[in-house]
């Protein structure tokens, strides 16, 4: 695995084409780290000239902003923007829809103007550009359902990229009763991830995992590290961790390509 940092490349007088924004979950969460590595392996395989910020990266500020702490958000945003601008970053890719939304939509008003793409969009582009070829493999003919992350789908209207990747793998896509613009939230957004839910009669992730189970799919795919945590909790709650697997799209591709 080749993971250059911005600092390293700059020291060598090189400049990457794209910054891979790993995000906090992708950096620290055990499950999400696997997704990060899967994506990096694909980038390596496709010979993408990328770099990460490494220890110079800091939280995008999304959970602080959604919790109402505009001050902390803007501190984070401006610190990150300062670093990215210093490296003259032009394009950013991330596997976290929350970072994606924040950097794409909210940094631009604070002086951070980048072309921001989600990793599913980038993977689709690599395939379109023939830099990546996915043939049939492990997931051909498998029943797959896709959970739309709110911050990718409704928040930014990206519905097709993840679905077309499932198609590339020739998986059988089974849609949940509520999907795309009507997809139900996993329950983690808006800083909910970091707190207990308010009093109610059910956890949101249980409601959502039931939607997924209804499709009778064998694999639940998502494209967000927080949705991933929620889907995993849901499967545990339903005692289905053995029967059903949940993956990020990047992991499916990693496995298909046997990276």
């Amino acid at each position: 695995m080749y993971v250059p940092t911005m600092a390293e490349l700059t020291a060598e007088g090189k400049k990457p084409d794209v910054l891979f924004w790993v995000g906090c979950a992708g950096s620290y969460d055990e499950r999400a780290k696997k997704i990060t590595r899967a994506f990096v392996k694909i980038l390596n395989a496709a010979n993408v000239n990328f770099a990460v910020l490494g220890t110079e990266e800091s939280c995008s500020g999304d959970p602080a902003k959604r919790a109402g702490n505009e001050f902390l958000f803007q501190m984070q945003a401006m610190t990150n923007i300062e670093i990215m601008n210093a490296y003259e970053v032009e394009k950013v890719v991330t596997a976290c829809p929350h970072c994606y939304n924040t950097i794409k939509n909210e940094y631009s008003k604070l002086g951070g103007n980048y072309e921001v793409v989600h990793h599913t969009e980038m993977l689709q582009q690599l395939i379109n550009d023939k830099k990546l070829t996915i043939e049939e493999g492990e997931y051909t003919g498998k029943k797959i359902t896709f959970h739309d992350p709110c911050y990718l789908g409704r928040a930014n209207d990206v519905y097709e990229a993840p679905r077309s990747l499932i198609n590339e793998m020739e998986g059988e896509l089974l849609e949940m009763a509520s999907c795309k613009a009507d997809a139900m939230c996993c329950g983690a957004g808006g800083a909910q991830m970091f707190k207990e839910a308010e009093k109610g009669d059910k956890e949101v992730f249980i409601e959502r995992i039931e939607d997924a189970l209804e499709t009778k799919a064998d694999i639940i795919v998502t494209a967000c590290p927080y949705c991933m945590v929620m889907m995993t909790d849901g499967l545990k709650y339903k005692n289905k961790e053995e029967e059903l697997k949940n993956y990020d799209i990047a992991e499916l591709i990693e496995q298909t390509l046997k990276l």
């Binding site: 695995m1 790993v22 906090c24 992708g26 950096s27 620290y28 780290k33 990060t36 590595r37 990096v40 990460v52 220890t55 990266e57 800091s58 939280c59 959970p63 602080a64 902003k65 959604r66 919790a67 109402g68 702490n69 505009e70 001050f71 902390l72 803007q74 501190m75 984070q76 401006m78 939304n101 939509n105 909210e106 008003k109 604070l110 709110c150 409704r154 928040a155 930014n156 613009a181 009507d182 139900m184 939230c185 329950g187 983690a188 957004g189 808006g190 800083a191 909910q192 991830m193 970091f194 707190k195 839910a197 308010e198 009093k199 109610g200 009669d201 059910k202 949101v204 249980i206 409601e207």
Partner: protein, 443 residues
């Protein structure tokens, strides 16, 4: 004596319309009590939204049955009101069916209106059944008790009565034509009223005239009444939906606004060389109140949203928090905002300006428990047929709780402390941020 009805008509018209104008003026004043926000950009896209979302009701047809019926009621309602023009002219000048000289065209129009009126009645009956017999759940959340529920049915009753009056009037009119009553221009029978007409056959000319005139007056007084009822009703959306959609947010749904006062402050903090006089320097005093604790801290579009809310509950129906039994209901956020702005409006009426009444939108109307249950998923804004944005109100109230009162739930405070200290919501060291690359167990 002869002119008495005309004079009476003019008096009630003037009274009805001036009352209406007064209501509208008050509504506009209340909306303007909100903070300023610039929504004058991209005018062509805004007009396109008005055409598709407001006029074309593109979001209503997601549920085809309710959508199509609603379009019928809306179209019927608007189009039949063209009849109003004839009614006004007849009323003022004591004429009868002034436009009937148009002959074939006139018959065509009245036939068309009648069919629409009939379809409106059918749709309204279906709506009533959905609400009261099938008891569709979104019409029966806690916030729909009391006036909200009565209001919804009142609208259905008023619409039925108005449409029936129009049909009955034409039916009686037809019978009078048959009797050769003086004044009743021959127009022939019309599509729907011809089925009602036989019910009146054999009646005397006087009784028929009482029915015809009665229905005519009922129709016009009913319309004036309904117009003035809007102020107290969710039916206000028939007017407000248009400006509301026009001024709705155009940015991606995920984008929240950045507080500008905070930006200036943060810039100053981060750049020691910044000219302290270039931006609004100083402590929190100059930053002004952050977030919203009351309606007057919201912007005018948010207040307009609350007046436009149709109380349909589509938002609450898809809200993940509400679906799983939490207290939060985005519809209730809108309804409480309207209640509060109304209350503040009354204070302004009385005292000329707003004076603290010891209440605020936050706590007295909307509780922190509701606010903290929101996942900011945007299901509500996606579902809303009039482009309301309950989420923006939730975020503004959260901002006040966090920035002005440091009143976030403990776990969120911990999360934020972590971000401050080590740049991640969890307690990991920044130095470990790249560890993932050397932890490949598969390699």
């Amino acid at each position: 004596m002869y002119y008495l009805p005309n004079i009476f008509f003019i008096i009630i018209m003037v009274f009805g319309f001036s009352l209406f104008a007064k209501n509208i003026k008050k509504l506009i004043r209340n909306v303007k009590l909100g903070r300023d926000i610039d929504r004058d950009d991209n005018v062509s896209e805004r007009w396109r939204n008005v055409l598709t979302v407001a006029l074309g009701q593109s979001k209503m047809t997601k549920n085809p049955i309710a959508g199509v019926l609603h379009i019928i009621v809306f179209a019927g309602f608007i189009i039949i009101n063209f009849e109003l023009l004839e009614i006004i002219i007849d009323g003022v000048f004591g004429t009868h069916r002034i436009f009937s000289f148009a002959g074939g065209l006139y018959s065509f129009l009245i036939n068309f209106f009648e069919i629409l009126a009939f379809l409106v009645i059918v749709s309204v009956v279906v709506f009533w059944i959905r609400r009261n017999i099938l008891r569709i759940s979104r019409f029966h959340n806690p916030e729909m008790k009391g006036w909200a529920f009565k209001d919804a049915n009142n609208i259905l009753y008023i619409e039925t009565l108005l449409m029936s009056a129009f049909l009955i009037m034409n039916a009686a009119d037809f019978n009078l034509q048959q009797l050769g009553a003086e004044h009743y221009t021959l127009t022939g029978s019309f599509a729907i009223s011809k089925f009602i007409a036989p019910m009146f056959s054999g009646m005397s000319e006087t009784s028929l005239m009482v029915i015809e005139r009665g229905a005519w007056w009922f129709h016009i007084i009913g319309i004036l009444f309904f117009m003035n009822y809007l102020y107290w009703s969710k039916h206000l959306h028939i007017l407000f939906a248009f400006p509301n959609v026009f001024y709705s947010k155009l940015q991606p749904k995920g984008e929240l606004d950045n507080l500008e006062s905070v930006t200036n402050e943060v810039k100053l903090m981060m750049d020691p060389n910044a000219d302290p006089f270039a931006v609004d320097a100083g402590g929190e005093e100059e930053m002004g109140k952050l977030g919203a604790s009351d309606v007057l801290d919201l912007n005018w579009v948010q207040i307009m949203n609350s007046y436009t809310c149709t109380e349909c509950g589509r938002c609450t129906d898809v809200c993940p928090a509400n679906e799983t039994g939490k207290l939060l209901s985005p519809r209730n956020i809108m309804m409480k905002t309207r209640d509060r702005i109304e209350e503040i409006g009354k204070i302004v009426d009385k005292k000329g300006k707003f004076e603290d009444d010891g209440k605020t939108l936050l706590n007295d109307y909307i509780t922190p428990e509701e606010l903290w249950a929101c996942t900011t998923c945007n299901a509500c804004t996606e579902a809303c047929p009039v482009q309301n944005d309950p989420l923006s109100i939730i975020v503004d109230l959260r901002r006040f709780l966090v920035l002005e009162q440091s009143a976030a739930p403990t776990e969120l405070n911990m999360m934020m402390t972590n971000i401050e200290n080590n740049g991640a919501p969890w307690q990991y060291s920044i130095a470990d941020r790249l560890n993932w690359k050397d932890e490949d167990t598969k390699a």
